[in-house]
């Protein structure tokens, strides 16, 4: 899917960075959420502390104010009258002084003398005897009590003259406006709640009507377990809230609570803003990451692509390509190494080119591969010597420059044909050449190749004739000698300058055979060993020769071509010639002479028959001994 290195790098880098970014995004978002919730809880708890402090402070102030009020001499005088009406009107008067909701006088026996909140309670026991008890112990006290369904801060202080002569109870209603004042201080919605005969009720609250209704539905669960709601998240029908339940006074018979609450959504507005910013930052950083990853990948892969393009160029043979990347990193090093390699390859190619011109490809290859050492080995090689016999005659008609051009054209054709048949041009010898089949590379059909090569050279050179004739030049005469023998092949010379070649009698013989072409006026002469290896080519036996110093004579042949390339007449003449030759060798000179004279008119046979008629004349004059083998002795050139 991501086959390209660039894509893989982009995907890897981007995936890595984006993973890190997304992870950190979620951790930060989690931290923000938790912090936001914790902050809300802390604020709520702080609010609750402020609330409690305010409530205590309020009650303390009311107690102080009430104490001062109870010390009022006129009030004490009124109390001392024991006249209920007087006392009641004094209570009303004094309650109004400190804006209390109500005020009552209770005897030291705990019986209500008068109470502005409930005129009917006179003569009855005070509703909150525990407050009196606490006041006798502490001197004065305060508590929150519900009177007729409404919560009141009830303060109880003694009337001192100067020892207590009665108790005064003053009540301050806790209503929505009290809650509202506290809300401003605590920044939380505040509700006073209590279970009244089993049913949870909101006694006073800052909540608007809708939220009030919503809270009522949640109240039973909250009041069932007040301890678990000292800081908790609660889902109410209208919203999610952080709530904190605070006992405001548990000295009464039914505990009363203040419930502080804040809407989670409203509290998290700041955190939502942070989250929005976080999303934006995440998107931005992912974009930057992608661009960055792409650029890094490009930076890495561009030189690699350039290198690979250069490698393809080299593959095509263009060694002049250079990457020229100046980077100082590993890729830069690679590129410089590559350039050096390309340069090396180019030099080597030039070298091969140059060497190929002066030596055969196979030899050059072995040289360049470093496989060539001084010394040789014995192997069977078919050696070919080739020469343009009348080149000098042609050259006389031309300028030296033109004749060199001509020679080069001949040798080019010859070299091409040799190489196309797997042969190796060993060296050029003036207007000729020496070629090897079977060294340095041995093939099973070296002799066949050599023969096929010789025949092709003959054809190609013959084809040149008409062209040359147009220019008034003589027809080129070719001489090729081929012989197969065991020779020493190897590098001969000194380590600094050596020459790959072959040495041996067979090599000399091949050279002699080439020389014999002139004598017999045939283009090609091959040795008996070659002829024995190449049976598919029809050959004309020419003679039997003995190299000087050797006892055995060997037969020599002229290859004519494959049977399918020869016409019937040629085959017939060949048969007659071989019969005549056989007669000659069996000393039937007269029959041989007659048979040969039949063929003497054929151009291909005229020269050879002339030679043989000469032999016969000499043999008649000087009949041969019994050891005559019909061989012609070759002398040194």
């Amino acid at each position: 899917m991501f086959g390209r290195l660039q894509d893989r790098i982009v995907v890897f880098v981007a995936a890595l960075l984006i993973t890190v970014q997304v992870l950190s995004f979620f951790s930060i978002r989690y931290a923000v959420e938790v912090t936001s919730q914790n902050t809300m809880r802390e604020e709520l708890a702080t609010g609750a502390n402020v609330f409690k402090f305010m409530l205590d402070q309020n009650s303390q102030q009311l107690v102080e104010a009430t104490s001062v009020l109870a010390y009022d001499y006129g009030f004490r005088e009124a109390v001392a009258t024991r006249d209920r009406e007087t006392i009641l009107s004094a209570l009303t008067n004094h309650a109004a002084r400190i804006k209390a909701s109500g005020m009552g006088l209770i005897g030291l026996d705990g019986i209500v003398v008068a109470d502005t909140l409930g005129p009917d309670t006179a003569g009855k026991a005070f509703a909150f005897p525990e407050l009196i008890t606490r006041a006798s112990m502490l001197g004065r006290t305060s508590g929150i009590r519900v009177i007729r369904g409404k919560p009141f801060q009830v303060v109880v202080v003694p009337v001192l003259a100067p020892l207590p002569i009665a108790w005064v109870s003053i009540s301050f209603v806790i209503d929505d406006s009290t809650a509202e004042r506290l809300r401003r201080l605590t920044s939380s919605e505040i509700s006073f709640i209590q279970r009244q005969s089993g049913t949870p009720q909101i006694l006073a609250t800052t909540l608007p009507k809708l939220r009030r209704r919503s809270l009522i539905t949640g109240l039973p669960a909250i009041l069932d377990e007040p301890e678990s709601f000292k800081g908790a998240s609660v889902k109410l029908p209208d919203d999610q809230y952080e709530i904190l339940l605070q006992a405001v006074d548990d000295s009464g018979p039914v505990p009363m609570y203040a419930l502080l609450q804040r809407s989670t959504n409203e509290g998290q507005l700041a955190s939502l803003r942070i989250q929005t910013a976080l999303y934006f930052i995440l998107a931005l950083s992912i974009a930057v990451t992608l661009v960055g990853a792409f650029r890094v990948a490009r930076q890495i892969t561009r030189p690699v692509s350039k290198l690979s393009a250069a490698v393809r160029e080299i593959e095509r043979g263009n060694y002049d390509v250079r990457t020229n990347l100046a980077d100082r990193d590993e890729i830069g090093e690679l590129s410089q190494a590559f350039d050096r390699m390309a340069q090396g390859l180019a030099e080597r190619d030039r070298m091969r080119d140059v060497l190929g011109k002066v030596a055969s490809n196979e030899v050059v290859t072995q040289l360049l591969d470093g496989r060539i050492e001084l010394g040789g080995e014995e192997r069977d090689v078919t050696v070919m010597f080739m020469d343009i016999r009348n080149f000098t005659g042609i050259a006389e008609e031309l300028t030296p420059h033109q004749s060199l051009q001509m020679l080069n054209a001949f040798l080019t054709i010859v070299s091409e044909v040799i190489e196309s048949h797997g042969g190796v041009v060993d060296k050029y010898l003036g207007d000729g050449a020496m070629a090897l089949f079977g060294a340095p590379v041995t093939r099973p059909d070296d002799a066949q190749r050599a023969l096929a090569c010789a025949l092709e050279i003959r054809t190609r050179i013959a084809a040149l004739g008409p062209t040359l004739a147009e220019r008034g030049l003589p027809h080129p005469q070719l001489g090729i000698g081929v012989n197969t023998s065991s020779v020493i092949a190897g590098n001969i010379g000194s380590p600094s300058r050596l020459n790959y070649t072959v040495l041996g009698d067979g090599v000399n013989l091949a050279a002699r055979l080439e020389g014999l072409t002139r004598r017999y006026n045939v283009p090609i002469v091959i040795g008996e060993s070659t002829r024995n290896l190449v049976r598919e080519v029809i050959c004309r036996e020419i003679d039997k020769v003995r190299v000087r110093g050797r006892t055995t004579a060997s037969r020599i042949f002229e290859p004519l071509g494959r049977r399918e390339d020869l016409d019937a007449l040629t085959i017939d003449r060949l048969g007659r010639w071989h019969e005549a030759l056989e007669m000659f060798r069996t000393r039937c000179f007269d029959a041989a002479e007659a048979a040969m004279q039949d063929l003497a008119a054929v151009p291909e046979y005229s020269r050879i028959i002339e030679l043989y008629l000469g032999y016969i004349r000499q043999l008649r004059e000087k009949p041969p001994g019994p050891d005559w083998d019909a061989a012609f002795t070759l002398y040194d050139k």
Binding site: Y71, R76, V79, A161, P162
Partner: protein
């Protein structure tokens, strides 16, 4: 509290067999109780006597003494030795009264004409406190620091011996007392409430 010489002489004259009664008052932990008033109510009502006067001074914004025991009908004066004025008052039922801001000794002393406990305060000095215990008998005494009170010139006869203290946790039953000899002794062990101190505010 010693009786003035005139009365003492009179007592000696009309009751040659008069004796003195030592009463020891301890609290329920056995500590001596000072400022307790013990008084003997004769079973047979004695001839009326004219009570002596008494004085409750104000010095350093304090009533001296803290506890004053008097017989019904006693005229009590309130000499003020401070340079500031005081407003002495009582809201106690036996004798509600007030003497508004004054210096020196008010012209008219206050006559306490009903028996019972009267708590005195000063309207401008909340910490000032004094008790007047009014008894309807000439035979009474107040314990000293060692918790002993001596009622002198107590004629032989039957009495109810009673005790009062401002910090009494509960009313104490009277002890029947038969005076026959020259010297007699009685003892009370009474539970007391702890009274919080009433320090003067620092100026």
């Amino acid at each position: 509290m010693r009786a003035p010489p005139l009365l003492l002489a009179l007592g000696l004259a009309c009751a040659a067999n008069a004796a003195s009664l030592n009463v020891t008052v301890k609290d329920d932990k056995g500590s001596a109780v000072a400022d307790a008033v013990v008084y003997a109510m004769p079973k047979v009502k004695p001839p009326p006597t004219s009570p002596r006067g008494a004085a409750i001074e104000q010095k350093d914004k304090t009533f001296i003494p803290l506890v004053t025991a008097i017989q019904v009908g006693t005229a009590v004066s309130f000499p003020n030795h401070d340079i500031v004025r005081h407003h002495v008052y009582s809201f106690s039922p036996p004798k509600p009264f007030e003497i508004k801001l004054y210096v020196g000794t008010p012209v008219a002393p206050v006559i306490f004409d009903k028996p019972g406990e009267v708590v005195l305060g000063c309207n401008i000095h909340d910490h000032m406190l004094a008790y007047v215990f009014v008894v309807d008998t000439p035979f009474f005494a107040k314990t000293d620091a060692s918790g002993v009170a001596t009622i002198d010139e107590l004629p032989a006869g039957d009495y109810d011996l009673q005790i009062w203290h401002y910090a009494l946790a509960a009313p104490q039953p009277a002890q029947a007392l038969k005076m026959r000899e020259e010297k007699a002794a009685a003892a009370f062990a009474v539970p007391l409430r702890i009274m919080p101190p009433r320090p003067a505010p620092k100026p």
